[in-house]
Amino acid sequence: MATATLEKVPFLRWLSQRWGVHADDHKRPTADVAIAAGPLPERLILPLSQHVGAAARPLVKVGERVRRGQLIAEPAANISAGVHAPTSGTVREIGELPMPHPSGLYGNGIEIVPDGLDELFPAEPPADPFALAPEAVSDIVSAAGVVGMGGATFPSAVKLALGRRSKIHSLVVNGSECEPYLSCDDRLMRERAAGIVDGIRLVLHATGATQAYVGIEDNKPEAMAAMLEAAKNHGEIRVVRLPTRYPMGSDRQLIYMLTGLEAPADGRAADVGVVVHNVGTLHAVHRAVRHAEPLTRRIVTVAGGAVRAPRNVEALIGTPISVLFEHCGGFTAPPTRLIMGGPMMGTILPRADAPIVKGTSGVLALSVVESNKHGDEGPCIRCGSCVGACPVGLLPLEMAARIRAGELAASVDIGLKDCIACGTCSFVCPSRIPLVHYFNYAKGELTSQDKNKLRQQATKQLAEERLARMEREAQEKAAAAAARKAERERAKAEAAAKAAAKKAAADAATQEESAT
């Protein structure tokens, strides 16, 4: 039974994939410091849209008291996830609140003022989850509001249900953590490997998959050792050592590296019988099923050159990032950029009162030294670095040139929609061209053009309906007028007839008179 050997990516497969970059990983010192308990902030902001899909629908009212683990917003559609109170307290506001978004705009959320009692909302875990039907397991996961915690934030229960429908044979566990700076998954694997392995077994049970590949980059030997140890009695779990190369943690690339299967561009991983989950998600599944604990806290890497004591913190979801930085000793110097997520794919945050969400793996405060390398954008010298680095096989330089010239449709023709925005191209560009920014702009512009088109169609329909209505009204009017006219004619005729009759009578009378 004990088949705990570290596996490697087959040589030829490794050789065939030459994309990516080996960036300076900045994982120290956070990776070597134990996870610390998080702060209890004065206010928690829980966005209603922390996941892919429809925003959750609030279930509480302003002023209502909530307890830890209580469902405060329910999923509003098939693809959606609920939100739970991270601690006990009072709902202060439901509405427009600061959001972790590059625009700095407000969005819908629920604000809770904690009371410090951390009172628990009672819930009972099932005695033996493996005795449950797979559907029941995914129902528990759904009720706990678990979403992909690597950053994609796709509702996990939906993925499990999808897996049952499309004959999943393998679970790919993403422990690669390829983003520089971040070490939350590394710490999680080192400290809570048993929980992750239990999560893996639960997901195998829920999806019907028969084996799991745990992919870990080779810059995390301790995590590999911990996972091997935890999985040693489970032959169906294989721990695979991955080369350290960004973006190894990208779904499709990871699947290919671990299983040799290539997911179709227009389809999903499930089309090749694979489902991918992040180690953090699997741990959340374990907590949800074994301890009846919804997803209300997560491990967040607080790092960056401007942070005094960078480390991993197990923080309540909804904690404002300013509180997290304060918790880690504050800033040594004013940060030049605040980032949510890693430096490669994370979003810049214009405001420090924005909260962390379920998909927040880290918050970074970059110092001047770290961000001053960004010079002004120079002209593209067509060096092709981006072509070699792109994990998808796109031509970023050509796409950006088309976008710059305003030919968005032409950039789609050469693969814009396949871009995963991993940032590798911008990272390697010697001219400092913000390639990903170009792609984001083009994707957004195209989406809003599509929306406009839909809107125009709707408008057209409205206008047509109005025309039809006016025509109908005109017809009715004409009909009414005609009816009135006919009425008048009739009346006239009647009157004429009457007059004639009268006249006739009078005539007769005169005749009679004259006759007499």
Partner: protein
């Protein structure tokens, strides 16, 4: 002389016959460009282009009389589609999509005259005689017809503020590679 005339006439005649046969063999129905263009237009008959309704504009665009950029509600997206259809190149960089606008009624000023209600091409204004009118946000296209029709200036168009759902990344500003950005006179 006679031979020359005859031989040229012969060549001409031969070519003429050959072409005549070919014309019949390769006959193509003329395409209904106007109808196709009209199908692409917004269809709100707002008249901002200066033509009577969308069909008038479609005819003008098809004949090349009006530029493909003449339709403000259609914006850049429509201009690009039309340019593709007509096989012309279009410079949309000069076109500023001002972002969607929406009409709003100032209730204190509204006298309930129903003029706006009658003029709205998409039935987006509701209300009855002597009652304050209101605008249905989803149906309003921002064509500004009601703004012109209102006798008391109660209707104003205001831009729709972006939300997290509608916000998009702005185009990157590059200093060195932007097109003709030279100061005046430098290009010459």
């Amino acid at each position: 002389m006679l031979i020359a005339v005859a031989s040229v006439a012969l060549i001409g005649g031969f070519c003429g016959v050959a072409l005549g046969v070919a014309a019949r063999r390769f006959h193509v129905e003329p395409d209904s460009m106007v109808a196709e263009i009209e199908a692409l237009m917004p269809g709100s008959q707002c008249g901002q282009c200066g033509y009577p309704g969308c069909s008038g504009a479609a005819a003008a665009i098809a004949s090349g009389e009006a530029p493909v950029t003449c339709c403000p509600p259609g914006g850049k997206a429509l201009a690009l589609v039309l340019a593709e259809k007509l096989g012309v190149t279009v410079d949309t960089s000069g076109m500023v999509d001002e972002g969607p606008k929406i009409a709003g009624v100032t209730e204190e000023l509204c006298i309930g005259c129903t003029k706006c209600y009658k003029t709205c091409p998409t039935d987006a204004v509701i209300g009855a005689v002597k009652q304050v009118h209101a605008v249905i946000r989803d149906a309003c296209t921002g064509c500004a017809k009601c703004e012109h029709a209102c006798p008391t200036g109660a209707i104003t168009l205001s831009p729709v503020a972006p939300t997290i759902q509608t916000w998009v990344w702005p185009k990157p500003q590059s200093q060195t590679t932007s097109r003709p950005a030279q100061p005046a006179g430098a290009a010459a």
